[in-house]
Amino acid sequence: MGFTASSDDRLTTDDYVSGGAAQTAVKILVVGHFAVGKTTFIGSISEIEPLSTEETMTQAAEAVDDLKGVRGKTTTTVALDFGRLTLSERVVLYLFGTPGQTRFVQMWEDMARGALGALILVDPERLADSFPVIDLIEQYGLDYAIAVNHFDGNPERAERALREALDLLDETPVVTCDARNEKSSAAALTTLVRYLLDRAS
């Protein structure tokens, strides 16, 4: 990192939020275990090149205090992927993707605060890896839908078995999704939003 102006600083008009002054920003989380397809999903529907930012797990000032005592100590950071969808002159939607590690409490609080809901990506071949993520989302009180990411060559699984394995409520939407495909990803997101709307009504 550094503060010398870099090529990243040269933004084009499209990088800015169109109609910014009138826009309300909302966010939805796209979560799931490592390599489940979060970055792919965000990339396939974002209107901007997906961005990534790091959240340090220790606040800057505290970290320096720590360094006085512990030479060479490193602080873990976690990368947060995100994309943007301008949906009208009034609403711009941000999608934030992050893995579900419970130890990143600070980041989870940041992400979860004010989120409309969460789309949980699930690989049916690795269901157990999704338990911690689902627990976290429930812990933060976020409504969610499940997007089953069907990887090539894997057998189709019955939705009922998956619901049982993940211990889902009957009302929780489950939708299959190819995260590489824009329409498929958009359909999964739409399913979530329709569910959120039902819950809000």
């Binding site: 970290a63 873990t76 990368a79």
Partner: protein, 126 residues
Amino acid sequence: MRAGGEDLEFEPADLVRAYVITKGRELPDEQQLSLITLVTAAPQDGRRPARLTPEEQRLLDICSAGYLSVAEVAGHTRLPLGVVRIVLAALTEGGHLMTRPPVPRARNADKDLLEEVLNGLHRKFG
């Protein structure tokens, strides 16, 4: 772009630099500069350009051509989110930056927003 999701090691030197950049300021109010708070440079009103630190100037420059979310400012500059928040807070305090925090969540507001989101998704993706 770095492949997201993995743990990254953050070197102590970077942390010290981050601290110097932010002059050890307190972290700003979480709501005021949330990930999706939209920020833009305030109109100059013919005022004399203020004395800003290079990092304040750099972030203000990025915000001068329109609105970006706090997360996007961090993403474009590749600076840690915590640092970006602090510098943006200082700019806001100094009157150089305007912020649009997201609306507080309330059930009715949510419903209107969700409807708008759903309609927008339909318009965009059919």
